[in-house]
């Protein structure tokens, strides 16, 4: 399959004197984490299918600085931000899409103050636009009637008020979208934000991801849909911790759409 993936870089576009429609910001998880790489590929397949002229920065991409900033290291964050902004401004990037809500939030909200002004979209928003414009179509067969619950990523939902784009996509699969008791603006965190992903939790009586997974299990889903590589990891671990591995799959919304396409 992999030879079918077309993943041009900004440098290649530049060499041809062309400008892509959109920059796909892959992010660290999407580049290095084994689970998240599958999300990256699923999204690229959809971009290829829809004939979107996109490019990635490849080896010129670097961490947005989000985990450093949330950990309190403003220096490191701004160093990362300014470096990335220099690269992107040199390529005259106008529009960015990313499958990571942390990258999305940081580039969209925190880069403008440091000289980086771009139109930034989360991949669920971007996919929805492709569907609305008819550049991509979904035949819902595979997920018809499946119970899917969507876990809101904090930095997409509460952080930026985007609740409907991922849900609209799930509805288009003819799936049965079921909501957890705390969802949308009151959605419970997966436990990874604020740089928690990279450290052990403080002493408590439960892990946050287990609590959240239990909330999901309450509504008896066959699939827990996520829109963030970190949430994906946390929910996958939560499903394992509650011994539901055989019954519940954790999938990114892009993977759901790509699977529905038989890609």
């Amino acid at each position: 399959m992999s030879e079918l993936l077309k993943v041009p870089t900004m440098a290649e576009f530049m060499a041809q004197g062309k400008q892509p429609e959109v920059l796909f910001w892959v992010g660290c998880a999407g580049s290095f984490d084994d689970r998240a790489k599958k999300i990256t590929k699923a999204f690229v397949k959809l971009l290829n299918r829809a004939n979107v002229e996109f490019a990635v920065l490849g080896t010129e991409e670097s961490c947005t600085g989000d985990p450093a900033k949330r950990a309190g290291n403003e220096f490191l964050f701004q160093m990362q931000a300014v470096t990335n902004i220099e690269v992107m401004n040199a390529y005259e990037i106008k529009k960015i899409v990313t499958a990571c809500p942390h990258c999305f939030n940081t580039i969209k909200n925190e880069y403008p103050g440091l000289g980086g002004n771009y139109e930034v979209m989360h991949h669920t928003q971007f996919l929805k636009t492709l569907l609305d414009e008819g550049r991509l179509t979904i035949e819902g067969g595979q997920f018809k009637g499946k119970r899917i619950t969507f876990h809101d990523p904090c930095y997409l939902g509460r952080g930026n008020g985007i609740y409907e784009a991922p849900r609209d996509l799930i509805r288009k699969l003819d799936a049965e979208l079921v909501e957890m008791k705390s969802c949308k603006s009151r959605g419970l965190c997966c436990g990874a934000g604020g740089a928690q992903m990279f450290k052990d939790a403080e002493k408590g009586n439960k892990e946050v991801n287990v609590e959240r997974t239990e909330q999901a299990i309450e509504v008896k889903p066959q699939i827990i849909a996520a829109g963030c590589p970190f949430c994906n990891t946390m929910m996958t671990d939560g499903v394992k911790a509650t011994n539901k591995e055989g019954e519940i799959a954790v999938m990114d919304v892009a993977e759901l759409i790509a699977n529905a396409q038989d890609l």
């Binding site: 992999s2 990635v56 950990a71 990362q80 440091l114 904090c154 403080e202």
Partner: protein, 433 residues
Amino acid sequence: MNYIPSILFAIALIAGIGYFVKNINKLIRNIKLGHDVDVNDNKPQRWKNMAMIALGQSKMVRRPIAGFLHVIVYVGFVVINIEVLEIILDGLFGTHRMFSSIGSLYGVLIGTFEILALLVFVSVIVFWLRRNTLKLKRFWANEMTSWPKSDANYILYFEMVLMALFLLMNATDVQFQAMNNGNIISEYIASWFGNTSGETLHIIERIAWWLHILGILVFLNYLYFSKHLHILLAFPNTYYGRLKPKGQFDNNEAVTKEVKMMMDPNVDPFAPQPESTEVPPKFGASDVQDLSWVQLLNAYTCTECGRCTDECPANQTGKKLSPRKIMMDTRDRLEEVGKNIDSNSGEFKLDGKQLLDDYITREELWACTTCNACVEACPVSIDPLSIIMEMRRYLVMEQSAAPMELNNMMTNVENNGAPWPYNQMDRLNWKNE
């Protein structure tokens, strides 16, 4: 004519309002200990937020039961206070029910007040039961012992007593009952006094009247010492609340300056530093003076309802972090600093204490997932997360005191451009895997 009651009343009124104003000035001075922050943008949106969130209680009703009861008490408080105007004028001029001359409209007004008074009385009892008998979890958290717990109950007792006195005062007012205009609730209470002589009724009425207005003045002055300050500060606090997306954290300007200088190839690193008398800025916050005045206003506005803590993922899973405690600690420390200034003739004397460690522990700060659930939950636009972030910044940038795993993560970001130890040159390898 006997002037003594009028004079006594005027003295009580001046003393009550005077002491209140004195404390409000202290409150403003304490809030101004915070550094300045620009909140002059987008005034229409700010007014709208105040109208919707504070005046319109839009966030209170997200929890329907508490929200409904709170709206009753809130509307009752605002509307019944119109009656206080008459009471004050009567008290000063020795008149009796000065406004009753307006006729049937007076009955409509007083009738409304009486119905609201009864509703408030009942709601407050339900509030008390929720807090003390049902023992809702958020009212029994670790930080809700001693004073915070008593404070909450005192407020409820105050309101019960004030409403009861208002109805009793109307019920024992023989003239008012004879008018039969607006005594919609008090007529039933009046019937309990069927055998009481007119003389006794008059004495009870006077006592109720005086206790009611004195109670209001005492309650007014109680505010400064209580979480109940929210009835005033909710308005400025929602006005100055954040307008930016919740996910957007401020970029520290002092850091931006240094980073820009580091990245500028034209800067000569060996150039002599200009003599500067400017105190180098402290990065982040270790004490209340390092926070912004909006954050300090937040602390005074908090009424300790605990919705933030209730929604906090760290708190829900048994960690020590409680966003409500962050706000309570900030206020307690600010009060301590204020008292320090008072007793040292206007100057703060170092007391060997600070907000960090002496009030808020590192364990609490590091348990936060920055998920914004607390910010979303607050019915009066308080932002506990911003305080947590400022304190993390101090820990990391001033003290290099991050947990070891986070130091590893940051070293990776610095060296490899990723939070994990992968080479940046391998960033596109997934394409061919």
